[in-house]
C-alpha cells in the first residue's frame, strides 16, 4: 500500500508519530516511509509544529528571583572569561613581539588570563566553599541556590566570593556589607603566610588594572574597610602574596596569585 495515496491514514499516523505515542515497529516503519516520501516527512513536520504549541499552553508560574540571579551570574562570568582569554591572547602576542615589555604588566595579563581559565574552577570553588562554611549539600545548582538563599536571609550582605587556589580548594570566604562598608574575610583553608610576607586582596574590574582592597592580618576573621564602589561591577577578587605590609595599589600585585574567585551579587 502506498501511504501517500491515503491522506487520512497518513495524517493519523503523522499525528501519533509527532505526539510520541506511535512506538516500536510502527514508529520505525513510519520513519522509513518518511525518509522515502517527502509527503510523509511534511505531514510529520506539520504535526510536530502543531504539538509544539502545547509547550505554550501551560499555566504560568513565577520562578524564584534567585533563578535569574544565577543565570545572570553565569552569563557575566562567561563574558569576563571570554574577555580575559582575549586579553591573554593579546598579552601573549605582545610578549612575542617585544620580549622586554615584560615586567609586572605582563605578569598582570598572564595573571588575569589565569583568573579567566579558573572561571569554571571558580564555580566549583563556590560550591566547595559553601560546603566548608555552611555544611550544605546537594548538587551544584542547588548549592548556588542555597548560597543565594543564605545571602537573601542575611540582608546586609550583598556580595560574596569564595577564593580558591589552583586546585579549587577553598581558602577564603569574602563577604561585603555595604551598610557598614565592611569586607569580611574568613580563612577556611590551612594556608599561613611566612612572617616576612602579607596577603593582599585585589579587585579585578572588567577594565583597567587590579585595585588593592587591603592587606590581610593574621587573624582567622579579617575585616577591611571598603566602599561599595570598590566591589560593585567587579567580577573577580584575588589574593596575592606580597612583601610584609603589602604593595601600593598603583603598583599592582608583584607576587604570585594564591587565591581567586568570582564575586557574586545577591538578588535584589
Amino acid at each position: 500500500m502506498n501511504i501517500t495515496q491515503h491522506p487520512e491514514l497518513l495524517d493519523r499516523l503523522a499525528a501519533s508519530y509527532a505526539l510520541g505515542t506511535l512506538r516500536g515497529g510502527a514508529r520505525r516503519r513510519f520513519e522509513t516511509l518518511a525518509r522515502e516520501h517527502a509527503t510523509v516527512r511534511a505531514a510529520a513536520l506539520v504535526w510536530q509544529t502543531r504539538w509544539s504549541g502545547l509547550t505554550e499552553l501551560q499555566p504560568a508560574v513565577e520562578p524564584a528571583p534567585a533563578v535569574w540571579t544565577r543565570i545572570d551570574n553565569l552569563v557575566q562570568a562567561g563574558k569576563s572569561q571570554a574577555a580575559m582569554q582575549a586579553a591573554r591572547a593579546d598579552a601573549a602576542e605582545a610578549a612575542a613581539r617585544e620580549p622586554s615589555a615584560g615586567g609586572w604588566w605582563r605578569n598582570l595579563l598572564v595573571w588575569r588570563g589565569a583568573a579567566a581559565a579558573g572561571a569554571v574552577a571558580t564555580l566549583a570553588a563556590v560550591v566547595v566553599g559553601v560546603q566548608v562554611n555552611g555544611g550544605l549539600k546537594a548538587t551544584t545548582g542547588a548549592q548556588i541556590a542555597s548560597l543565594q538563599q543564605q545571602l537573601q536571609a542575611t540582608p546586609q550582605i550583598q556580595y560574596v566570593a569564595v577564593l580558591a587556589d589552583a586546585k579549587a580548594d577553598a581558602s577564603m570566604l569574602v563577604t561585603f556589607d555595604p551598610k557598614n562598608n565592611q569586607l569580611v574575610l574568613q580563612r577556611v583553608g590551612g594556608f599561613q603566610e611566612g612572617d616576612d610576607k602579607s596577603l593582599q586582596l585585589w579587585a579585578l574590574p572588567p577594565a583597567g588594572g587590579p585595585r588593592s582592597l587591603g592587606v590581610l592580618g593574621n587573624d582567622k576573621l579579617l575585616k577591611l574597610t571598603a566602599q561599595e564602589g570598590d566591589v560593585k561591577e567587579v567580577p573577580t577578587l584575588a589574593i596575592s602574596l606580597e612583601p610584609r605590609g603589602g604593595v601600593p595599589s598603583a603598583t599592582g600585585p608583584t607576587g604570585p596569585v594564591l587565591f581567586k574567585g568570582a564575586l557574586i551579587r545577591k538578588a535584589t
Binding site: 505515542t21 509544539s52 504549541g53 505554550e56 499552553l57 501551560q58 557575566q76 541556590a145
Partner: protein, 192 residues
C-alpha cells in the same frame, strides 16, 4: 496585525540581540517569558528545584544558541518551549533513573490532576497563532482526553507509561488518546 507590534516580532528582536551577546536582551526575554516557561518546566518535571534548574539551563542554552533561532523557522515561544521541554525531559529521565520512588510521587500528583476539573489553560499574550489554534481545538475535548494527550506529548510517554502512571487500564488510555486525536485532527484541519 502590525508587524512591529506583534509579540512574535518583539521576541524575535530580543533573540537576535541575544545572538549578539546583548545581556540586557536576555534579561528582557527572561522578564517576558520566564513565568510561562517555568510553568511548562514545572508541569513536566513536577518538582520546583528541578524545574528551576531546567529554566536556568534553558536560558543559558538560549544565551549560547540564539544564533541558530532564525534557522529553526519556529514562532519564538514555540522555539523556547521546545528548548525547555527538551531540558525538562533530560531532567525527568535523570530523576527517574536516580530515584526509584519517583513513580509513586508522580502517581499522587497526577491522580489529582485527572480527578480535578482541570480547565484548558492558556494565559499568555505571547503565544503563537498555531498555539491559539491548538488551544481552541483542545478546548473541545473532554478534560480527561485533553489531559492524557497533553501529558503524552509534554512528558514523552507511551500508552503503557501513561496507563501505569495514571493508574488507568491500558485500553482506556488508548481509547482516550485515539478519540482525542481524531477530534483534534478534524478541528486542526480547519486551521491548515
Amino acid at each position: 496585525m502590525s508587524s512591529t507590534l506583534h509579540p512574535d516580532s518583539e521576541l524575535m528582536n530580543l533573540i537576535d540581540r541575544i545572538a549578539e551577546q546583548d545581556d540586557s536582551a536576555l534579561k528582557e526575554l527572561y522578564r517576558r517569558t520566564s513565568a510561562q516557561l517555568f510553568g511548562l518546566a514545572l508541569r513536566i518535571v513536577r518538582h520546583r528545584d528541578t524545574a528551576e534548574d531546567v529554566l536556568q539551563e534553558a536560558f543559558l542554552s538560549v544565551w549560547r544558541g540564539a544564533g541558530s533561532y532564525r534557522g529553526a523557522l519556529s514562532p519564538p515561544m514555540a522555539w523556547l518551549g521546545l528548548i525547555v521541554r527538551s531540558r525538562a525531559l533530560d531532567a525527568l529521565r535523570k530523576r527517574t533513573s536516580d530515584r526509584a520512588d519517583l513513580m509513586n510521587e508522580l502517581d499522587d500528583d497526577m491522580a489529582q490532576v485527572l480527578e480535578g476539573d482541570s480547565p484548558n489553560p492558556m494565559d499568555t499574550a505571547d503565544a503563537s497563532e498555531q498555539a491559539f489554534a491548538l488551544h481552541h481545538c483542545l478546548g473541545r475535548l473532554e478534560n480527561k482526553q485533553r489531559e492524557v494527550v497533553s501529558l503524552a506529548y509534554l512528558r514523552d510517554m507511551s500508552h503503557g507509561e501513561l496507563a501505569e502512571q495514571l493508574k488507568l487500564p491500558l485500553g482506556t488510555v488508548k481509547t482516550w488518546i485515539r478519540r482525542g486525536l481524531e477530534q483534534l485532527r478534524s478541528c486542526m484541519a480547519r486551521y491548515a
